[in-house]
């Protein structure tokens, strides 16, 4: 029997050598990283839960890998039969193990990405992840390209850079489903791994790193992955803030220094001025109240104060180091005079709450005297924020603190000037410059918080006011009437309402938000964004409310356009707004407009949404030019492809020409924050990627599409939307099918976001937010909303005229926007798997809907074929066999989780579903008599049979983590 399996194998010869997968680049240590982490994890698993459990995990992995090889549905059933035979305790451990292994694989990849040297060979069409995009924007390369290929002068580049701003807006996101305590452990695993492979480590170092690695992997595995209480907006905000603390704070000056170096390499001797706002940070965490009742005015206030406290703390922690460094005594007269003055006014007694420089500093150390004063102010600034946050009031006088940025910068600038004039520029350009750059990037508020509110809520408030004033119902007025009234009130001075205004809770909430904005320093805030904005009155309403609530420096009001129809109407709406004189004067020639990618996609399908977004931007820019307004486009992209995500630099370079012009504002959503800022190198590369791509887009604008390309795409968009809507909105049983075939219903139970997954508690697809919509389809690996519509659109134009295929291929080759759109779909197809979706159908969907599912899957295959034709590829990802292989390696974990999820859903939804359990496998070191009990008891409130809910949540988190930017 057995000897049949053991074939006599000849040694590898010329022929066999060709079958070897091929040489992996020396820089690519991914397989090693992966092996190292996973093998170690399996050892830990064995130590903790016994050899049999390990074997079960490996058995499952093997089945999955076999499935990935041949895609036989039978393999999925074999997997299913092993998985359903597990008792609740084992099932949790197994789901957790796979989810953990996926996390480890991701970490390995992150380390690999961070350290990979640039791949010089620029091959077209073979990017997939942010990571493997070979067209990666690198500053030096970009500079070289601009100088060399485009004959730009170094001065032009320097000028463009100095006037460029990239504003990254961090948003919370429910599928950022990894707990923070886990994120930190992941961070340490990543660090250990990176260090282990560093050169020149001693055997002792290695051993200690080994131990640390073991510890962190085990600690992460032993942490309950499921948050047992839902996160509040404050939790999300604090989690988001940790990235500032851990990577961004130090990453920014480091990055800017690299910009200096890159400039020097093209012959620019100057450095980027410290106050050139190359990179800015904003946040939505605690400010975005759209449909999230848990973001209260109090939350907004806390979030701002917390950020201010963090900023002051970080400056304070750094300034003593700076004082140590600034031991020079040569200074200019200006600084000398100031030092004398500060010294004369300073307290002569010792300040015991300081660790260093706690006694009065003599004027023989003039820089330290000045910086000592800065430190005092920082100390008080921090204390004040601290007290305000914990007690609501503070006895620290405002005068003792920094009130605005200028105050903070001034003494530092003084030091800088003085050092330079005494011949110590190299010293000035050290830590002091870094510090100055941090101050001008982060200010006193660390980030600027955007406020987002639905336009209806403002209408409600104004309606209450006009009703109270007895002048009618604002809500019922026409747009003209509204504008007229708003403008007359805006030009007048009289207050509109007092405390006697009858308020519902919702109205009070809106007004109190404005009061918080008025109360806090203006630099805490960025934009006031109105969603569902359609008319100029929506913008003017916010202007009026800001004035009424005595916001001293009103926030810029930014309309957000996200539905297809809104996007189409956006240029006209903005034109109407600009034609209002009052408004035009108010904005001082600057306007920001936000365009939303997620909802537009959900509404009309991705192809139409992408094209409409493109056209809307072009039109908006045109309108702004007509009115002499400088327009900043705020891109509300999700992290995932379904919601407009994808590799950053490609997304930027594919924007229409002239729409960025050196100022880019873009969301960095929760699910990609970790990938973007989770680690020092990742942070560096994120900053570099945004900066380089923005620069390149401005200096080498992408080509405008030919008229015939536009016409073709217009035609395709109509067909695509038709098909998308005919399935999603018009197919009577679609919603039923969707709810059955995906874990959407159960998704709401995951404690992963602070926001309800629906705008309104009931209703169909319309009421569902884009995130759960995409999330649910990603979980089943079907990605329906991403590709639906493309197939019929491409087919339609080819059937109409076969020459259109050539035009499509031409567009793909030469038009960055089109190329990126197609490439992203190709990537999603590479990660998708209709075989998995079929399993969900078979288990969960009622039989009469099976043909519908099959139809959709046939559509998937056909669309895939057409996309490949358009791209001129024979096979998915044919340009990058390694990436393909890598996806395949990772797919095996995801597949196990998918199968586990499908069967768990089955058991949840169909309690009569019969399973035969095998004996309990997992061993626990403590209390081996009732091993599963403790695990199950972690979730005492589940409505389902023991263990099912936790298993389900673990699979959801695992799959989301595994698919990354498609999640």
């Amino acid at each position: 029997m057995a000897n049949r399996k053991l074939e006599k194998m000849a040694s590898i010869d010329v022929h066999l050598r060709q079958l070897v997968p091929g040489k992996v680049s020396e820089d690519d240590k991914l397989v090693e990283y992966d092996a190292l982490l996973l093998d170690r994890f399996l050892d830990i698993l064995q130590d903790l839960h016994g050899e049999d459990l390990r074997e079960t995990v490996q058995e499952l992995y093997e089945h999955s890998a076999e499935y990935e090889g041949k895609h036989e549905p039978k393999k999925l059933e074999e997997l299913g039969s092993v998985l359903t035979s597990l008792d609740p305790g084992d099932s949790i451990v197994i789901a957790k193990a796979f989810s953990h292994m996926l996390n480890l694989a991701n970490l390995a990849e992150e380390v690999q990405i961070a350290y990979r040297r640039r791949i010089k060979k620029l091959k077209k069409g073979d990017f997939v992840d942010e990571s493997s995009a070979t067209t990666e924007s690198d500053l030096e390369e970009t500079f070289k390209k601009l100088v060399g290929d485009l004959n730009k002068s170094p001065e032009e580049i320097f000028d463009a850079l100095k006037n460029q701003t990239v504003d990254l807006v961090l948003t919370a996101h429910p599928t950022q489903s990894v707990r923070r305590s886990l994120l930190q452990k992941h961070g340490r695993i990543r660090d250990c791994l990176a260090q282990l492979y560093a050169k020149d480590i001693t055997p002792d170092d290695k051993q200690e790193l080994d131990e640390a690695l073991q510890r962190e992997i085990q600690a992460a595995f032993r942490t309950d992955e499921i948050k047992r209480t839902p996160p509040t907006p404050q939790d999300e905000m604090r989690a988001g803030m940790s990235y500032f603390h851990e990577t961004i704070w130090k990453g920014v000056p480091k990055f800017l220094r690299r910009v200096d170096t890159a400039l020097k390499n093209i012959g620019i001797e100057e450095r980027v001025p410290y106050n050139a706002p190359l990179i800015q940070f904003s946040s939505w965490m605690g400010g975005d109240r759209d449909g999230n009742p848990r973001v209260t005015p109090e939350v907004t206030r806390d979030v701002c104060l917390l950020a201010r406290m963090m900023a002051a703390t970080m400056y304070f922690n750094q300034i003593e180091d700076l004082m140590f460094e600034m031991s020079m005594w040569r200074c200019n007269d200006e600084l000398r005079a100031r030092a004398d003055e500060v010294h004369a006014n300073s307290r002569k007694d010792a300040a015991k709450h300081y660790i260093e420089f706690w006694k009065s500093i003599p004027t023989t150390e003039p820089y330290r005297v000045i910086l000592g004063d800065v430190r005092d102010k920082l100390y008080h600034t921090r204390e004040r924020a601290h007290q305000l946050l914990s007690n609501g009031h503070s006895d620290v006088p405002v005068e003792a603190t920094f009130i605005n940025l200028e105050q903070f910068l001034e003494p530092l600038e003084l030091c800088y000037r003085s050092l330079c004039s005494c011949g110590d520029r190299p010293i000035a350009d050290g830590s002091l410059l870094d510090f100055l750059r941090q101050v001008s990037t982060f200010g006193l508020s660390l980030v600027r918080l955007d406020i987002r509110q639905e336009s209806d809520r403002h209408t409600d408030v104004l309606d209450a006011i006009t009703t109270h004033l007895d002048i009618g119902s604002y809500r019922e007025w026409s747009e003209e009437r509204r504008q007229e009234w708003l403008l007359s009130e805006l030009s007048g001075k009289r207050p509109l309402f007092g405390s006697d205004l009858p308020k519902t809770e919702e109205i009070a909430d809106v007004l109190d938000t404005f009061h918080v904005i008025a109360e806090l320093p203006a630099d805490s805030f960025g934009a006031y964004i109105i969603s569902m904005a359609t008319a100029p009155s929506d913008v003017l309403a916010v202007e009026l409310l800001q004035r009424e609530c005595r916001v001293k420096q009103p926030l810029r009001v930014v309309p957000l356009f996200e539905k297809l129809a809104d996007l189409e109407a956006a240029p006209a709406a903005v034109a109407r707004l600009f034609s209002v004189d009052w408004y035009k004067n108010r904005i001082n020639g600057k306007q920001e407009v936000m365009i939303g990618y997620s909802d537009s996609g959900k509404d009309a399908g991705r192809l139409s949404a992408a094209w409409q977004l493109y056209k809307a931007q072009e039109e908006l820019v045109k309108v702004a030019k007509e009115y002499g307004v400088k327009l900043t486009m705020f891109h509300g992209r999700g992290g995932t492809v379904g919601r407009g995500g994808g590799p950053t630099h490609l997304a930027i370079l594919s924007q229409p020409p002239d729409t960025i012009n050196g100022s880019l504002r873009v969301t960095v959503q929760g699910e990609v924050i970790e990938q973007s800022f989770g680690e020092e190198h990742l942070c560096f590369r994120t900053l570099q990627r945004f900066t380089a791509a923005t620069l390149e887009h401005g200096m080498r604008p992408p080509i405008s599409p030919k008229p015939e390309w536009r016409a073709l795409l217009d035609e395709m968009a109509v067909v695509a939307t038709e098909e998308y809507r005919s399935v999603v909105f018009q197919e009577p049983r679609f919603v039923e099918y969707f709810r059955l075939a995906t874990p959407e219903l159960e998704y709401g139970r995951m404690n992963i976001g602070s926001r309800p997954s629906k705008r309104k508690p009931s209703g169909g697809i319309e009421s569902l937010r884009a995130i759960p919509w995409i999330f649910a389809w990603t979980q089943t690996r079907f990605h329906l909303p991403v590709w639906l519509g493309f197939g019929s659109a491409i087919r339609h134009v080819i059937e109409k005229d076969v020459r259109n295929l050539h035009m499509l291929q031409d567009m793909y080759q030469h038009w960055p926007f089109f190329r990126v759109t197609i490439d992203l779909i190709e990537m999603v197809f590479a990660k998708g798997d209709p075989g998995i979706a079929a399993l969900y159908d078979k288990l969960l969907v009622s039989e009469e809907l099976w043909p519908f599912g099959e139809k959709l899957r046939a559509n998937f295959e056909e669309t895939k074929k057409l996309i490949l034709q358009t791209a001129g590829h024979k096979d998915l990802l044919e340009g990058d066999p390694y990436l393909k292989q890598r996806l395949r390696l990772r797919d095996s974990y995801i597949t196990t989780l998918n199968v586990c999820q499908a069967y768990t859903l089955k058991r949840i939804r169909d309690p009569s579903y019969h399973v035969t359990l095998r004996p309990h496998i997992s061993k626990e070191i403590a209390e081996s008599s009732k091993p599963a009990k403790e695990l199950i008891e972690l979730n005492p409130t589940s409505e389902y049979a023991p263990g099912l809910e936790d298993t389900l949540i673990l699979t959801m988190k695992g799959i989301a983590a595994g698919l990354q930017n498609t999640g």
Partner: protein, 278 residues
């Protein structure tokens, strides 16, 4: 060692006893010593691949360099012409490899027999590695067994390389047994032998190799995946110590993979002889 005169002048060539990669192995008799030997003859004209050619030329040099070891086949004589090469080696009679032994035993070997072979293979490898020699093609067909004494001898150094403190490269080995770093085209060191030896031991215990597939490509992929399993069906009666050692030998992380010396110090190896035969 190369002689001008002909092989046939010193040895009487008898029957063919095996076939190697590039030639045949013939039993031969030396009238001078009155002993039988094995003679491996290689037709150099069939070698087209540079790497293979290099290997052939290295084999005798390496074998000559290695101090004698009871578990390594000894070399006695070498004859070279432009087109052919003949190596006269120690003869194991009847000539049986571990592969043959596996077949004759019905697929798998007992734990005690496996352990005994494992120990000898490892001590042969430890010896090679001390001399900076990497065998690079450890597999059941390259280990000869003397059923009478129970002794085994590692043979066929046709793929071996001398490291001299450096690392090696080149895809050399045999599909089931080759280490992942070789498949990936990495630079590698003597630890590749440990991987292969681990696979050999696994195969003796289970009757099938740990990484399998229908085609060579599938096998390579399975090796890269490195999912080392011990299915209860095959390993139900195998001791935990054996599995533990195998995990440490068939370990993808080269720096954590055992050396031959480490493996010999492992409890399973220390207990060889105490293991019950079954």
């Amino acid at each position: 060692m190369t002689r001008e005169f002909e092989l046939e002048n010193n040895y009487q060539l008898c029957d063919e006893i095996g076939r190697g990669r590039f030639g045949t192995i013939t039993r031969c008799f030396s009238p001078a010593t009155k002993e039988f030997y094995a003679c491996k003859t290689i037709d150099k004209r069939v070698l087209i691949d540079a790497l293979d050619r290099e290997c052939i030329e290295t084999e005798p040099r390496i074998m000559a360099m290695l101090p004698p070891h009871p578990n390594i086949i000894r070399i006695f004589d070498l004859y070279e012409t432009e087109d052919s090469l003949a190596i006269v080696m120690e003869l194991v009679d009847p000539p049986m490899t571990i592969y043959d032994r596996l077949i004759s035993a019905g697929g798998r070997l007992s734990e005690s027999e496996s352990a005994s072979y494992a120990k000898q293979i490892l001590s042969a490898l430890a010896h090679c590695h001390r001399c900076d020699v990497v065998h690079r093609d450890v597999k059941p067909d390259n280990v000869l067994v003397d059923l009478v004494s129970g002794g085994v001898k590692l043979c066929d150094f046709g793929s071996a390389v001398w490291l001299g403190g450096e690392t090696a490269e080149g895809v050399v080995g045999t599909p089931y047994y080759v280490a992942p770093e070789v498949v990936m085209g990495r630079k590698y060191d003597e630890k590749v032998d440990i991987w292969s030896a681990g696979v050999v031991i696994y195969t003796m215990l289970a009757g099938e190799p740990p990484f399998n597939g229908e085609t060579a490509e599938d096998i390579f992929e399975s090796i890269l995946r490195g999912n080392l399993r011990f299915p209860p069906k095959k390993f139900g009666s195998v001791s935990s110590e054996a599995k533990d050692l195998l995990r440490k030998m068939i370990c993808r992380d080269v720096s954590r993979r055992f050396s031959a010396e480490d493996a010999l110090r492992h409890s399973w190896m220390m207990n060889v002889g105490n293991l019950q035969s079954n």
